[in-house]
C-alpha cells in the first residue's frame, strides 16, 4: 500500500507531493470537468437519434435501437429484452403495441405471438455514433450556404484588415507628418467605444452606402480595427529607420519599402493579428445580425441562431450543426494554440 501511494505521489525533483498539490490537482480536475463537460456532452448528444434525445433521464453515450428482420414481416422489427415472471430473459422483436400490451415474436420462431406488458421489456440497444443528424441537418440548415458566407467574410475581412491596418501602422510609425498625433489620438480613443454602443447610426450609414443585405456591409466596416493598427504600430516602431533609409538610397519606392522590408519584419505581429481577425470574424454575431436579414446571406452564427429559433424542439439537428460550426475554430486552435495564448498574454486583446 505504501509503495502504491509513494508511486502515485511521486513527483519530479526533490519535492514531495504535499497537501497543496492534492488541492491543486483536485481543483484542476474539477475545473476540467466543468469546462470540458458541456462540450463533451454537446458532441455525444449530437450523435443521438431524436427518440433518444427526448428520453429522460438521458443516457450518457449515444445508442441505437437494435432491429432484426423476422420472416413474415416486411419491415425490420425493434428488438427488446423481455423479463418474464419466472425470471428468465429473452430477446424478442416487437410486432405492434396496443396500450400497455406489446405483441412480440421470437425471431427464431416467427409464427408464435407472445403478449407482453410493456413494463417487462427494455429496448435492446447498442453503442452507435450515427451521422444521421449531420446529414439531415446539413440539408435542412443550408449549411453549405452559411459556411460559404462565413468563409468569404472571414477570409476577405482578414486580408483587408491586414492590408489596411498594416499600411496605416506603417504610415503612422515611420513618417513624421502634420496630423499624425491627432490621428493616433482619435484611433486610440475609439479603442474603447464598442460597436454595441453605436448600433443605430452604424446601421444608418450602412444602409446609406447601400450595403444592407450585402456581405460587404459585414466585411468592410470591421476592417479598420483600431486594435490592429495599434498593435502593428507598436511592433513597427521597433524596426530601425536606418534600414528604410538605406533602401531609399538604393532607390526603392515607399511602397516597395512597405512591401519588401517592413511587412516581412512585422511578420510575428501580423500573424497574431491574422489569428485574432479570423476568430473575431468567424464568431461575429451582432454585426451580421444587423446588416443581414436575407437568409441566403446569413453567416453560420446568424444562421445557427435563427435555426435554433425555428426548430426549437429539433435538438438533433441543432446540436449537430453546432458541432460543425465549432469544428473550424477547434482546428485553428489545435494548430495555432501557442500563438493564440502568447498573443493574448502579451497584448491583452480579444
Amino acid at each position: 500500500m505504501r509503495v502504491v501511494f509513494d508511486f502515485l505521489t511521486r513527483t519530479r525533483g526533490k519535492y514531495h507531493f504535499t497537501r497543496s498539490d492534492v488541492i491543486t490537482y483536485l481543483y484542476l480536475s474539477m475545473g476540467t470537468i466543468m469546462m470540458a463537460g458541456p462540450l463533451i456532452w454537446l458532441v455525444l448528444s449530437s450523435f443521438k437519434p431524436q427518440q433518444q434525445l427526448v428520453r429522460f433521464p438521458p443516457s450518457l453515450l449515444p445508442y441505437r435501437q437494435e432491429t432484426a428482420i423476422v420472416s413474415g414481416y416486411d419491415q425490420a422489427l425493434d428488438l427488446y429484452d423481455v423479463t418474464f415472471e419466472d425470471g428468465t430473459t429473452r430477446r424478442l422483436a416487437q410486432v405492434s403495441r396496443v396500450g400497455i400490451e406489446a405483441r412480440m415474436v421470437d425471431p427464431t420462431t416467427p409464427n408464435e405471438i407472445i403478449k407482453v406488458n410493456i413494463n417487462q421489456r427494455q429496448p435492446a440497444e447498442s453503442l452507435y455514433f450515427g451521422l444521421d443528424n449531420y446529414t439531415r441537418g446539413v440539408t435542412k440548415f443550408d449549411f453549405w450556404t452559411y459556411l460559404k458566407n462565413s468563409l468569404v467574410v472571414t477570409v476577405v475581412a482578414t486580408i483587408l484588415t491586414l492590408l489596411v491596418n498594416s499600411m496605416a501602422a506603417f504610415g503612422l510609425s515611420k513618417y513624421q507628418f502634420h496630423g499624425r498625433n491627432a490621428i493616433l489620438i482619435i484611433i486610440i480613443s475609439t479603442l474603447m467605444v464598442p460597436l454595441s454602443v453605436i448600433l443605430i447610426p452604424v446601421f444608418l450609414v450602412i444602409s446609406q452606402v447601400g450595403w444592407t443585405n450585402n456581405l460587404l456591409g459585414v466585411i468592410v466596416p470591421a476592417a479598420a480595427t483600431p486594435t490592429g493598427v495599434f498593435l502593428l504600430r507598436q511592433y513597427m516602431l521597433t524596426i530601425p529607420d536606418e534600414l528604410l533609409d538605406s533602401a531609399r538610397i538604393d532607390g526603392a519606392s515607399e511602397w516597395r519599402i512597405y512591401w519588401q522590408i517592413v511587412l516581412p519584419l512585422a511578420g510575428p505581429a501580423l500573424a497574431v493579428l491574422a489569428i485574432f481577425s479570423v476568430m473575431w470574424r468567424w464568431n461575429d454575431f451582432l454585426w451580421p445580425l444587423i446588416v443581414l436579414n436575407r437568409k441566403e446571406l446569413f453567416t453560420l452564427q446568424v444562421g445557427l441562431n435563427s435555426f435554433q429559433g425555428e426548430f426549437n424542439t429539433q435538438w438533433d439537428m441543432v446540436l449537430a450543426m453546432t458541432v460543425l460550426t465549432v469544428l473550424p475554430v477547434t482546428v485553428v486552435f489545435a494548430f495555432l494554440q501557442k500563438y493564440i495564448t502568447t498573443g493574448i498574454a502579451t497584448t491583452g486583446m480579444k
Binding site: 496605416a168 443605430i200 444608418l204
Partner: protein, 342 residues
Amino acid sequence: MTSVPISKPISYPRREPNVLSRALHWLMHLIDLVVVPIQRRVGMRRMAWFFVLPNLLIFGIFILLPMLLNFYYAFTGSTNLQPQDRPFVGTANLQALFTCEDFLNPITCKEDIFWRAVWNTGTFVVFQVGGIVLVSLATAVALNQRIRARGFFRSIFFYPVLLSPVVVALIWKWILQRDGLLNALLTVLGADTIPFLLNPDWSRFWVIVVSIWAQMGFYTLILLAGLQAIPTDYYEAAQIDGADNRRTFRYITFPLLMPTLLVVLVLSLIRAVQVFDQAFALTGGGPGTATTYVVQYIYNTGFTSPSRQAGLAAAASVVLAAVLMLLTLTQLRLGRRTEENV
C-alpha cells in the same frame, strides 16, 4: 523502412516560390507601378497619407461618423431614421430616460424597461466580475504550481473563449432545458426538476455562470502571465524565511500581482457592462425582462420595437458610452501607475 545513409551530405533544396506568392509578388509590382508616379508627385514625406488613407476612410465612415451621428440621434426626435427628417428636441430623450419617481423601483419610471435593464446589468456586473476575477485568479494560481500537463489544463480552461456567443448559448441551453443533463442529475440525486430558463432568478444566475464559463480562460491567461513575471527569487527568499503557502501568497504573490489584477478587473468590467449577445441567445432577454440588459434595450428600442424610437436608443447609448469612457479612463490611469511602478 529503409535506412538513411548518414554519410550522405544533406542538401538544402532551394525553395521555389509557389503560385500564390508569385501572384502576390506581381500584384505588388503592379501596385508599385501606380504608386511610384504618385510618390514622384507628392514627395516621400507625404506618402504617409497614402498609407494612412484607406484605413482612415473606413474608420471615418464606419466608426467615427456613426459616433457623431449617435449624438445627433440622441438629441433629435420622431420615428424617422433619416437624419434630415428628425426635428431637434434637445435633451427630451435623455429626460425621458431619466423621468422616474423612484429609481430603485423601475415601475415608477417613464421608460421602465430601461431601468429594469439598468438594474439587471448592475447585478450582472457585480456578480459576474466578482466571480470571474475570483475563478480566474484561483485557476491561474493553480496553473502556476509545479504541475504536470500544464499545457493541457491551460488549453482546457482557455478553449471556451474561442466559441461564439451563439454556440456557447446553445451548449448551455441544451444542458439547462427541462429534460436536460442538469435536471437529470437532480433527479438522480432525488431532487425535483427545475425549469431553469423559465424562472427569472435562475435565468439571471445561469447567464452569469455561463458568461464566466465562456470568458474566464482569457483572464486566467493574463493573470498567469502576471504570475510568471514574478521573479522566483522572492519565493526562494520567503522559503528560507520559513513562510508557509498562505503567507507567501498574502505577502508576495498578491501585492506583486495587484497591477495585473487591476487590469483584469477593469477589462472584465468594461466587458460586463456591455453584456448582450450571449445572454440574448441563451434567454432572449426573458423570462419577461429578467435578463434584458442595457445593450439589449438599445437593440430592441432601435431595431425590433414597432415604433423604432432611435432617439431613445441613441440617448441610452450615450449614457452607456459615458459609463464605458469612465471605466476606460480608470484603466488608462491604472495602467500608467503600473508602468511607473515597474
